[in-house]
Structure formats: structure tokens, C-alpha cells
């Protein structure tokens, strides 16, 4: 800040302070982050081990396919989610056309639809034996092979399925950004001669870029972590490769190394995102907000906008939802109703507990990072963030390894010292399950909370402290109320994600504990898609309510509405 200053004498302010935390509370947070990073670090630590020539085999045979398919999957999903996410977000925020109000929240609905369930559903509909192709054959009296139909179980199919349920991340985040943009900035561009469309392209999109990229990176991480869909469609990508190597080839080391390569993909992505964000600061330069003037669309434009925005809802939610409903009514009598309620309760219980813990943990981590941004903490949080890109099964094993180690070591020590067997205290309990969820989904909460906290000016903290509040009191009395929108968003995203989660639950759960996702998977795994539909439907229904609340929260996030003077 001053050109007339000297360097401080060395030692007076140690550079250690910038690297390592100095506050005991910060050490606690750092320790927590480290604990939650253990599964990620376990995967990384495999890199140095030898894999007995499995890599040679992989390199010669399937590795090229894994890389090519994974990249194609990311590219395809990435492109489609941008198209399905940004355009509708801008249209429903800035323009007015028939149904635009309803589409505003309907566009979020596919978020409640797990990717593997939409994959089952579309397969049932579109596969050779499904109703659509049967109808084509009967109507036109064709045999298979005499007409062309896109194969649903293919790389293209997997791209479509994933994009249809993941685009809401881009939609939500870019819509938030559009809502927060000062109208002035857009109006200035209009006075400089830009048409509304040009204003969208030249001002609104660049301003929303950090949000769009944040949404996109969530999508790509989910895409890379997906196992259910690609496995079901028989597309060989990194995740399917990990399992095949692990169990088929029997090399857990090579499998972990494949996962590590997967993580490197993600690391590159994360760094790219960080780099793109660092180049520019996107703060609101104007603090004057008025009601968003929605441009009423006329003539063909309003129908085109309607068609554009309806498409993702139709294919991402409505069609699969109705198909599930149909199957469900057909197989309702086969449903085990007593167990069903228990599973429903279990799913909700797990999702709520995890959402709550993720919220509290995320808030403390994010706040500590704001107050005392040591490099160690920031680095740790970045590693933690990779958890979102790791397939659930890998996370589950990454949780099992340290948990069983801890339990067994404690047991051995207790036996030796006190002659008491403690057995397995943590593994095989819901503690392990929730921990695995946190490893996977805390990054989602952190992203949202970081963004929310970032919008609160640092002078707010100073003001609170100057009035005699401790940092914790400031968090409670200032930040939490100001950012309640972000808090709600973070917990709801985690809630919905947990509701959909399958592999970690399956592996880590205690005896006699079932969730909706597990039952759905088990039936679908026996290729009984129709019977799986009732539980699948319940997952979707349980997810819809938080998803709609989520959308309401975002609509209200407009500055001036309840924040930013």
C-alpha cells in the first residue's frame, strides 16, 4: 500500500505464520481437514507402490480406451450442461415468456434424479425391447435392423443421461450470478448500443463466468466419479477400469493408481478453475439494485424460449418420472411396505444428519480460512475438495482402511493394557457411513459457503469485533444471519446428494440397515427395473422438496432483497 516502506526485519514476523496456523482453534480445524482428507491421501499414496506389471497390461490393452472415453464423457457432458444450464438460466431470469415462472423452479428438478435411475429408466424406454422401439416395429412393420435407432447404452447415451441430471448445477449457479448482477452494468451496456442478446453474450456471461465455471467443475467431478451409469451402459472409463482392475485383475494397487490418475485429471481441472478466477475479480461495482426488468418476449421468440427451457425439464425429469410412476403402479403390489417405511426413514435420517454436520463443519472450515488463511489450511481444503471426484466405492474403502486400522489398533492396545476387547468401535457403524459422505460431499458445502462468506465485506468482521464480539460471536450474530441463503443451499445440496448416494452406503453400512438407494440398486441389479421403480420414485420425491426450497432461496438472494446495503 505504500511505496515508501521498507522490508520488516527478518524474524519479527515469521514467514511461518503464513504457512502454518498459529491459533489453537485453527489447528483443530486443520486436523479435521486432514482427517477428512485421509481417503484422498490414501489413494494418492498408492502412486509409489509397485503394481506387478498390471500397468503394462493396462497400457497395452485398455488404458487408451479409458482415457479417451473419460475425456469424451467429460467433454460431452460439459458441453451439454453449458447449453442446458446457462441459456435457460438467463431466459427465466431476464425475460418473460409463457411458463417462465414455473420453469424457474422446474428446471432444478432433475437434480433430484439420481443418474443411475435415469439411466435405468431410459434404458427401459428406449432399448431394443422397450416400448418405443416396439412401437416403431409394430407401426411400420419393421424388424430390428431395418430402421436406425440411437443405441441408448453407449458413450453417447451415458453423456446424455449424466448431462440431463447434472445440468442443474450450472443452471443454479449461473442463475444466482445473473440474479446478483447489477442491472446498471447491463443497462450501461445497452446504452452503449448492445442488444439484449449482445448484453447477454458480452456482459452477463463474462460476469457470471466464475459461477459458471464453478458449476461446470461440480458437474465434471460428478461425471468422473460416476460409476452406476457408465457401468450399466458398459462404457469403459476410468471408474469402471478401477473396479475391473481391482477385482477382476485382483490388483488393488493398480486400481488405486488408476484412481490417482483420475484425481490428477481433477487436480488439473481445479487448478484451471482457480487460475481463471485469479485473473480477474468479479465484484459488484455498483450497489444500486432495482427490480430486474424482465424483457417480455414476443412472437416466435417466446415459443422458441419456451421450447428451449422445457427441453431439459422434459427429458431430465418429466419423462423418467412418468415412466417410474407407470412402473411403480404396475409393481406396487410386490412392494414390501413395512421395510419400505424404514428405508425411507433411514434415507432421510442419514441425509439430514450429514447435511447438518457438513453445514457446521463447512462453516467452521470456511470461516477459519477467512480469518486465518494459512497456506497449510488452504492446501488442505483443496485436497479435501478432491473427495467429490472420487467414486463412492473408492471413498468407502478409503474410509474402511483407516477406520478398521484405528479400531483394531485400539482393540489390541486395550487387550494388552486392560485385558478388555473393544472390537470394532467405528467401522461397521453409521459413523463410518456419515464420515464417507462427508469426504464426498463436504466439498459441495464448502464451495457454497466460501462463496457466501466471500460476499460479506471484511469490515463486517471488524465492526463486530470493535463492538466487543469474539470471532465466534460474530459468526453467530453477523455471518450466519447474513448468509442464511448460502447455509440453506449448502445443506440442501448435501441432503440431496446423500439421498442419491449408493456405493459408500452399501459397503459401510451396519447390519440390517437399508436405504431407498440400496433397495433400488439391488432390484435394478437383478434386472428388475420395474420393481425398482417404487423406491426410485421415493428418492426422487424426497429430493424434490429440498430442490424447490433451494430454488426459492436463490430467487431471494438478490442483493438488496435481504443483503448488501
Amino acid at each position: 500500500m505504500d511505496t515508501h516502506t521498507n522490508k520488516a526485519p527478518k524474524g519479527a514476523l515469521s514467514s511461518l505464520q503464513r504457512w502454518l496456523p498459529t491459533h489453537p482453534g485453527t489447528w483443530v480445524i486443520l486436523g479435521l481437514c486432514l482427517l477428512l482428507s485421509v481417503p484422498v491421501l490414501t489413494v494418492f499414496s498408492s502412486i509409489t507402490s509397485s503394481s506387478d506389471g498390471v500397468w503394462g497390461h493396462l497400457y497395452e490393452t485398455v488404458l487408451g480406451d479409458y482415457v479417451l472415453h473419460s475425456l469424451s464423457l467429460m467433454l460431452g457432458v460439459g458441453l451439454i450442461v453449458l447449453v442446458l444450464g446457462i441459456g435457460p438460466a438467463w431466459l427465466v431470469t431476464m425475460t418473460h415468456f409463457p411458463g417462465s415462472r414455473m420453469l424457474e423452479w422446474a428446471l432444478v428438478l432433475p437434480l433430484a434424479m439420481p443418474a443411475y435411475i435415469i439411466a435405468y429408466t431410459y434404458t427401459g424406454l428406449l432399448d431394443v425391447g422397450g416400448p418405443v422401439q416396439s412401437w416403431i416395429r409394430e407401426t411400420f412393420e419393421l424388424r430390428f435392423g431395418q430402421y436406425w435407432f440411437p443405441p441408448i447404452r453407449s458413450l453417447g447415451g451415458a453423456i446424455t443421461m449424466l448431462a440431463l441430471v447434472l445440468y442443474p448445477y450450472v443452471y443454479l449457479l449461473s442463475r444466482t450470478a445473473f440474479i446478483e448482477q447489477s442491472v446498471c452494468v447491463l443497462e450501461v451496456s445497452r446504452t452503449l448500443g448492445a442488444t439484449p442478446l449482445q448484453a447477454f453474450r458480452r456482459v452477463a456471461i463474462p460476469l457470471a463466468r466464475p459461477a459458471i465455471i464453478a458449476g461446470l467443475s461440480l458437474v465434471l467431478m460428478e461425471t468422473l466419479a460416476d460409476y452406476g451409469t457408465v457401468q450399466y451402459f458398459g462404457v469403459s472409463v476410468f471408474t469402471t477400469g478401477v473396479f475391473r482392475t481391482w477385482f477382476g485383475l485382483g490388483s488393488s494397487t493398480a486400481a488405486a493408481q488408476l484412481s490417482a490418475v483420475l484425481l490428477l485429471f481433477i487436480l488439473v481441472l481445479v487448478l484451471a478453475e482457480h487460475w481463471s478466477r485469479q485473473k480477474a475479480r468479479y465484484h459488484h461495482t455498483s450497489s444500486k439494485y432495482t427490480r430486474l426488468p424482465r424483457i417480455p418476449l414476443q412472437g416466435w421468440k417466446k415459443w422458441a424460449a419456451l421450447a428451449y427451457c422445457v427441453t431439459p425439464v422434459l427429458f431430465g425429469f418429466l419423462i423418467p418420472f412418468l415412466q417410474l410412476l407407470k412402473w411403480s403402479t404396475e409393481t406396487w403390489h410386490l412392494l414390501d411396505r413395512d421395510g419400505f417405511l424404514g428405508m425411507f426413514a433411514n434415507s432421510l435420517k442419514l441425509a439430514s444428519i450429514t447435511a447438518l454436520i457438513a453445514l457446521v463443519l463447512g462453516l467452521f472450515i470456511s470461516y477459519t480460512k477467512r480469518l486465518r488463511p494459512s497456506l497449510a489450511l488452504r492446501g488442505m481444503v483443496r485436497v479435501l475438495g478432491l473427495g467429490y471426484a472420487i467414486p463412492g466405492t473408492v471413498v468407502a474403502i478409503g474410509v474402511l482402511i483407516p477406520f478398521t486400522w484405528f479400531d483394531n489398533s485400539l482393540d489390541a492396545w486395550m487387550r494388552e493394557t486392560f485385558g478388555i476387547a473393544t472390537g470394532l468401535l467405528l467401522s461397521g457403524t453409521l459413523v463410518a457411513v456419515v464420515f464417507a459422505y462427508l469426504v464426498r460431499f463436504l466439498p459441495v458445502a464448502l464451495n457454497t459457503l466460501d462463496a457466501g462468506l466471500g460476499k460479506i465485506k471484511p469490515t463486517m468482521d471488524d465492526a463486530g469485533r470493535s463492538m466487543g464480539l469474539t470471532p465466534l460471536q460474530i459468526l453467530r450474530r453477523v455471518h450466519v444471519p447474513v448468509m442464511r441463503g448460502s447455509l440453506l443451499t449448502a445443506s440442501l445440496l448435501v441432503f440431496v446428494d446423500v439421498l442419491k448416494e449408493l456405493p459408500a452406503t452399501l459397503i459401510l453400512r451396519p447390519f440390517n440397515f437399508n436405504t431407498l438407494a440400496i433397495r433400488t440398486y439391488e432390484l435394478a441389479n437383478q434386472e428388475r427395473l420395474a420393481e425398482a421403480s417404487s423406491t426410485a420414485l421415493m428418492i426422487v420425491l424426497a429430493g424434490i422438496i429440498p430442490v424447490i426450497i433451494l430454488n426459492q432461496t436463490i430467487s431471494r438472494s438478490r442483493p438488496g432483497h435481504d443483503s448488501t446495503p
Binding site: M1, H4, T459, M460, D462, A463
Partner: protein, 347 residues
Amino acid sequence: MTPLLELHQLSVALERTVIVRHISLQLEQGRIGCLLGPSGCGKTTLLRAIAGFERALDGEIRMGGEMVSDARHCLPVEQRQVGMVFQDYALFPHLSVRDNIGFGLRGMSAAARTARIEELAGMLKIADYLDVYPHRLSGGQQQRVAVARAMAPKPRLLLLDEPFASLDVELREQIAREIRQVLKQDGITAILVSHNQYEAFAMADEVGVMRAGELLQWSTPFELYHQPACEYVADFVGEGVFLEGRVLDDMRVQTTLGVLGGTELHGFAVDAQVRVLIRPDDVIHDDDSQKTARVLDKAFRGSQYLYTLEMPDGTHVLSLVPSHHRHAQGEMIGIHVEMDHLVAFPH
């Protein structure tokens, strides 16, 4: 009596760069001080160090005799009982004006709380807005709320960081005077930071001029103006020019405006070359004077004109002239110099 605030050889560093160096000053209970200087001089850093947001690199800060900062210790902000008004006000958007003001009022009865809030609202003329949310207020109103909020818990020391910077120019001095009144009424000791001397003079009992992290002078506005400690202060505060001069004796100096002298000893040796500060109010328009100067430029100041004059030898001086004396540019006018005390610096 122990001064309320005492800085002794205080240095502050940010990110290993020393921003503020060896500052010493004292502020008595009930007085208002001002740190004045151009942007980047370290005045805000100094203020934040007093508040406790920044740690001391060296030296110490005492409040009411109690050590609050030195190289090893730093009493946390929340225990210092300081109030702070921020440049951007930092009002809590989720709270009404009433709750913003009442935010720091804890451990008191609801009635006492309401009374204090209403007392401040009355003093600061914001009683009508108590149940409004901050984003509905104008800049000036937000500023008053910010001051009220900081004053509410009766802090030992109130700190104001460029409190008037976001206000319209016309409003600044008026609000500054009003706030001074309120502070005096409440008996609050305060320090503000400003880069505007008029604001500083309107508000403060004592002003410190800072440059590049150093405090050049800490005294009353009168002293600062009439007895600046160095050329920089003389130049920064008020207007004026320096004339080359030669010392004639203990009291007098020979300059192009003639022999100048005050009533006090100036302390330079005979024949020394010095630079003499000539304030515009030292140069009196006098039609009868032998000495004349050409009007180069003039600026209307309401009741007065500020003339820039050129002496026959080419040196420029400034003169404040009552505005009913109107002279055109290029005109020659008579002047003479009248000064109580001579301000001179070594050449």
C-alpha cells in the same frame, strides 16, 4: 493525569512490510484527534493498530495507562472497548437501524437499551429511521447510523476511518461539525483518519500529519498552521509559498518582500540562508504600499479572493483579499506583509 491514549515509538508491519514507523503521540480524555495525510501514508494502518486489528511490530500502545499492544502482546479488539466507524460503514444488512445501533449493547436491560438507542438516534437525527433496514438509507443517513452504532456501548475510544469519504463534498464539513458536537456532548474521546484538512480542522482538537509511515507533527490545528514543524507540514496544511531569505539578526530576515520579522526569536544564525513561509493571510492588499505585484490568477472564495501574485523579481506569492476588492488579471496592486511570527526553515 494519564492520557487516555498513548503511543510510544510504535511501528506496524503488514505482510513483512513496515507501514508505520516509530510513532509517538498522546491524546487526553475527551479530546478528538485526527490523523491527516495523503492516501498510502499509513494512517489507516495506524488506526487499525490502535483498534487492535493489527499487531505492533515494535513500540507500544497504552490506553488509560494500561498496555494494550507491544511487540509481544496484543489485547484482542473485543477487549479494548473501542468503537469503530468504517469507511464503507459496514452496517449489518440483516438488522434494522435499531438493531444495528443496539448490536453492541449487551448485558443491559431492554429499557436501558432502548433509552440509549433513542438517545443516540436523537443526537444523530435518525430517530425517524429506527425501524428501516440499512439499504433503504442514503449515504449520509447510513453514516450517522454507523456512528451511532459505534458510540452506543460508550467506548473508551472511538475510531473513525475516513468517515466522510463517501459523502458528498458539500455535506462533509457540516456533518463533521455535527458529529464533533455529538462526541463532545457524550464526552467521547475519538481519533479519525482523513486526507482532507478541512474535515480535520472542522472536527479535531489535535491533528497529526503523516507522511510515508511517519508522524511529522502532532498538535492543535492552530499550531499546525502557524507553527509547522517542517516544510512538508507547512506545505500540506493550508496554502502558502516559500521565499528565499537571508537572516539579518535574531528577529528579522531579508526577503524579496522586504524585511520580515515576528515577535519571537527565530533561532537562525546571522547571514544564514533560509526559506520563509508566507501564508496568503500574511500578504495584505494595500493600495498605499510602495510594493506592487502583478495579478496572475485569482480564485473566488466567497468572502475573499485568493490572488496569485508575481513579484517584480519573478517570485510568486498568494494573498487573500476581501472580495469587494476586485482587480483584473495583469493589474498591478500594492501589498504589504504582516506576520505575528516568522516561520522559516533552513535552506
